[in-house]
């Protein structure tokens, strides 16, 4: 008989799969299971971890961790699931297979092979986060290392990496403080901690970052006044653009939050142009980069609407839970999706966390290996086991290509200009991606409201308010803050109820979430 000894501890070294930094850390086990994480001073970041990394232990053992298949709020056994999946696979032309995040390179390959064997031709990514378009920067050239920061004289940062990807902060702040001449330009629509360190902060009108980037790349678009729309004087745009171009070494660091900018596709395209114009590389920061399918989800969505696709099998952890509004309008679709957490009244199959797998993940600095030494939570099934359970033959596939995008720049610019200059009667809700709010584990989301708006709404910090958009309603806590301009409110978009508020648009078959008009009132 094994004697349980609470003093016995073991530490398994692994790599954090929650974002593209790939920090090394240890998971501490005692005889009762996961105890927490260990900060390894000999790890690649010297033991430093962002809040997501610290939450790894919490996640592995989370009280909402899904460990049994759930249907209509009830646990069901795997035999029933197996039969249901077999029935679905008997009609492969009516099935779409999708994937979002929390799967490894190898699992993605296995899914593709399975689809080929099963004759499923609709395969798409359901990872709709804006950073998925940053793939182009990874594909194109060798990943940019942190040493690029030390070499730079000027750095342009888009977004708020100090909150989204805090591990960059040490290098970036030390660089900034090492030489007074080092120039840090930050671009965002709200005041952020990153902006707090800037030499120059270009505070654009909410959602118009792509237009400013085009301005910095000296692109013109007919008679549209790009500078006027962003709210930044054209003389400032010219100066920053010229100065950055003429710097010997420079870097563009980019992180983008859900529902923060009007058009992530245009954003990425503008970024490519700015990078080309200035001759400076881009360092993309992302939580996950997304895997390709053979179609964009918009194509699948159209077939769902026409009732040509009736079943959707999703591997990952986001879809549909974190994008509930996408499926709200369609009827007659059966979704069978894996999830890592339990959600009220929603079906799900218990998924293994990447942290508990062996496999390859892509980081900002290249591919990295997961140790595979941490045992999956009991009851969960990884992708390969699920595919095996479904049966069928797996065929070899060498790769997969998503259809090329033809971007009509003029049309997209026009749309952003129109949206950003439209008069709204309510408040404009922006998404933030704050590592501390990872999956809502540490804190209830706080809605930042300008104190002037707060007075009008008769709310104070700590009050509870309802936020309503045409997609949903959420109850959140108020934080009065001058970080947001009047008329604009912002919130960490980490929990399903908050994310549901955001409008989405399917344009050229791509699903994008955008800043959204909302109503706010105090909870009495």
């Amino acid at each position: 008989m094994k004697i349980i000894d609470p003093e016995t501890k073991s530490v398994i070294k692994t790599i954090c799969p929650f974002c593209s930094f790939g920090c090394e850390f240890g998971v501490v086990f005692d005889d009762f299971g996961v105890k927490g994480v260990e900060y390894l001073s000999d790890g690649n970041t010297g033991g430093r971890l962002c809040p997501r990394g610290s939450a790894a232990g919490v996640f592995l053992n989370h009280p909402r961790r899904l460990t049994v298949p759930v249907k209509s709020g009830r646990a069901v056994d795997w035999v029933r699931i197996k039969q249901e999946l077999k029935d679905i696979l008997a009609k492969p032309d009516k099935v779409a297979v999708c994937f979002d995040r929390n799967i490894t390179e190898e699992e993605h390959q296995a899914i593709l092979g399975f689809c080929k064997g099963a004759g499923i031709s609709h395969i798409a990514s359901t990872y709709f986060e804006p950073e998925r378009f940053f793939k182009v920067f990874i594909k194109r050239r060798k990943p940019v290392g942190l040493d690029q920061i030390d070499r730079a004289q000027q750095i342009v940062v888009l977004g708020d990496p100090f909150n989204q990807a805090p591990m960059i902060s040490k290098t970036l702040i030390n660089w900034k403080l090492s030489d007074r001449k080092n120039r840090l330009v930050v671009i965002d629509s709200i005041n952020t901690h990153t902006a707090g360190f800037a030499t120059d902060f270009l505070k654009v009108r909410a959602g118009t970052e792509p237009l400013l980037l085009l301005g910095l790349a000296r692109e013109k678009s007919g008679d549209i006044d790009l500078a006027g729309t962003t709210g930044i004087e054209s003389s400032i745009i010219d100066e920053v653009s010229q100065s950055f171009k003429s710097a010997e070494n420079g870097l563009i660091i980019v992180s983008l939050a859900f529902g923060h900018t009007y058009d992530p596709v245009l954003f990425t395209e503008a970024l490519i142009r700015f990078s080309k114009f200035s001759g400076k590389p881009v360092m993309p920061l992302f939580e996950f980069i997304g895997f390709p399918g053979n179609e964009h989800f918009g194509a699948v969505y159209n077939l769902i609407k026409k009732r040509k696709i009736k079943y959707l099998i999703n591997f990952g952890e986001l879809f549909p839970y974190y994008y509930p509004q996408v499926l709200k309008g369609v009827k007659g679709l059966n979704v069978c999706a894996t999830s890592t957490l339990k959600f009220d009244g929603i079906d799900g199959l218990p998924a293994v966390l990447n942290l508990e797998k062996e496999g390859t993940i892509i980081t900002t600095f290249g591919p990295a290996k997961l140790s595979g030494e941490i045992k999956p939570a009991s009851g969960t099934m990884d992708v390969k086991a699920l595919l095996d359970m479904m049966g069928g033959v797996t065929k070899k596939v060498s790769g997969i290509n998503e259809p090329e995008l033809k971007i009509d720049l003029k049309e997209r610019i026009g749309a952003v200009v129109e949206k950003s200059t439209k008069k709204t009667r309510g408040y404009l809700l922006l998404g933030e991606k704050i590592a501390f709010n990872f999956m809502g584990f540490f804190e209830t989301p706080q809605l930042k409201i300008n104190p002037v708006d707060g007075e009008e709404l008769k709310v104070r910090t700590g009050d509870r308010v309802y936020v309503q958009s045409k997609n949903g309603l959420a109850e959140v806590v108020v934080k009065l803050s001058i970080d947001v301009p009047c008329g604009v409110v912002s919130i960490p978009a980490e929990t399903p109820d908050v994310r549901e508020l955001f409008d989405f648009e399917i344009h050229q078959e791509l699903v994008n979430f955008e800043p959204t008009e909302v109503k706010i009132w105090k909870k009495e």
Binding site: P51, P166, S169, I173, G196
Partner: protein
Amino acid sequence: MEKRIVLDLDLCCGCRSCEAACKAAFKGEARIRHGELQGIAYLPLACRHCKEALCMTACPVAAIIRDEKTGLVIRSSFLCIGCKSCAFACPFGVIDAPLVRHISQKCSLCSDRAEGPRCVSACSSGALQLLTDKKIEKHEVGVRFVSRNPFFRRRQ
């Protein structure tokens, strides 16, 4: 006491990794709090383990005591009655008023961890450091603050 946690405000990027590390390790207790300087900067508030600890003096049931061996000001979770006297007494606002599991949230300098404070290890920018009193005296903190925040900063 040999070492204390010191914050180099110039380096702090406001990511709250310190707080997350503490919350994750102590089941939701944030033994390191944060304050904000009027929108200028984020300010993690770490316990100083004071020589004259007012939290200890204020505690009516002597749940907070000084560990003679280590010099740490520690709270017994068994004795704490959750009266919040310590939270009001601490001159640095380190102890958060809300209780977690009916007891106060008091830093133990991670005495359960041989490598020392988790918040210091986790700190993404290196702003939190564990220094000896001697080193603290020599450490210049906040002198580069003028480099911060364009909204409030004067042009140099």
